[in-house]
Amino acid sequence: MPALPLDEAGKYVAGAYLVFLALVLVYVAIMAAKLQRIQRELRSLAALADERRGGGAER
C-alpha cells in the first residue's frame, strides 16, 4: 500500500474528521429542535395551568 503524498492524504483525513464533526453537529441540531418543541409544549401547558387555576377548581 503506497503512502499518498501528504497533501492528497490530508484531504482524505480531513474529510473523515469533517464527517464526524458534521454528524455530531447534525445531532446537536436535532436536539435543538427537540428542545424547541419541548419549550413550546411547556409554554402551552403553563398557559393551560394558568387557565385552569384562573377558571376555578376544575381539577
Binding site: L4, A9, A16, V24, M31, K34, L45
Partner: protein
C-alpha cells in the same frame, strides 16, 4: 439529569485531547502515511458502536426481567446512538478505503464488512418497532430483537473474518500491528473520548425522552383525560427528526 454536565465536560476535554494527540503527537505510520490518522477516529467509533450494541442487549435482558420501561428506553437509545456511530464508521471506513486502495468500498477488510452487516441488522430495529402498535408488545419484541442481535454480532465477526482469511488471505495489516507506544497512547485517549461521547449522547437522548414523557403526563393530567397516568412515564420512544411520532397520544 445530574452528572450530564460533568460527563459532557469530560467528553469535550478527552476528545479534544485525543485529536490533538492525533495531529500533533502521534508519529507518522511507516506504511500508510498520513492516511493512518483516520484510524484514530474510525476504530474507536466502531468499538463504541459495537460495545453500545452489547450494552443495549444487556438493557434488553433487564427489561424483559423487570418489565421496567426505563430499561427499554436505555436499550432503544443505546441502539439509536450506536447506529448513528455506525454510519460514521462506514463513511470513515469508506474514505479510508478510497485513500488506501482507490475504491470507495473494499470487501477485503473483514471488520468493515462485518460492521456493514451488523449495521444493516440494527437498522431494521426501527421498522420493527414502528410496525408493532401495542406499546408493551413493541417494547418486549424490541428487547427480544436487541438480545438476538447482540448474540449475532460476535458470530458475524467470526464468520466474516474466517471467510476473509481462508478465502482471501489478509494482505493488508491494520494499524494495530506493531504500533509504538505513542500510537497506543493516542489511540487510547481517542477511544476514551469517543466512548465518553457515546455515553454523553445516550444520556442526553434519555433526558430528552424523559422530559417529553413527563410533559405528556403533565398534559394528560391537566386536560383531565380518563386515561390513567402510566407509571414510569415512558411513552413511545421518540423518533429522530423529522419522522413524526406515530403514537396516538400527543407527542412533544
Amino acid at each position: 439529569m445530574r452528572g450530564l454536565r460533568t460527563l459532557s465536560a469530560a467528553t469535550v476535554a478527552t476528545v479534544v485531547a485525543g485529536f490533538a494527540l492525533v495531529f500533533f503527537y502521534a508519529p507518522l505510520d511507516a506504511d500508510q502515511g498520513f492516511i493512518q490518522k483516520i484510524f484514530y477516529l474510525h476504530v474507536p467509533l466502531a468499538i463504541a458502536a459495537l460495545v453500545g450494541f452489547m450494552v443495549a442487549a444487556v438493557h434488553a435482558i433487564r427489561h424483559l426481567r423487570t418489565n421496567d420501561p426505563v430499561h427499554d428506553a436505555r436499550s432503544y437509545v443505546s441502539i439509536h446512538i450506536s447506529v448513528i456511530f455506525g454510519v460514521a464508521v462506514l463513511v470513515t471506513g469508506s474514505i479510508w478505503a478510497r485513500a488506501s486502495w482507490g475504491k470507495w468500498w473494499v470487501w477485503d477488510e473483514p471488520t468493515l464488512v462485518s460492521f456493514l452487516i451488523v449495521f444493516l441488522l440494527y437498522a431494521t430495529y426501527y421498522p420493527l418497532r414502528y410496525a408493532i402498535e401495542d406499546r408493551d408488545r413493541q417494547a418486549r419484541y424490541a428487547s427480544v430483537f436487541a438480545i438476538t442481535a447482540g448474540a449475532f454480532v460476535p458470530l458475524n465477526f467470526l464468520a466474516v473474518r474466517l471467510a476473509e482469511s481462508l478465502l482471501h488471505p489478509r494482505v493488508f495489516a491494520t494499524a494495530e500491528g506493531g504500533m509504538p507506544g505513542s500510537m497506543w497512547l493516542t489511540f487510547g485517549v481517542s477511544l476514551l473520548g469517543i466512548g465518553l461521547l457515546w455515553l454523553t449522547l445516550v444520556r442526553f437522548e434519555l433526558v430528552a425522552k424523559d422530559t417529553s414523557a413527563q410533559l405528556s403526563r403533565l398534559r394528560r393530567a391537566l386536560e383531565g383525560s380518563p386515561r390513567p397516568v402510566p407509571a414510569g412515564g415512558e411513552s413511545r420512544p421518540s423518533t429522530p427528526q423529522p419522522a413524526p411520532d406515530l403514537q396516538a397520544n400527543r407527542a412533544v
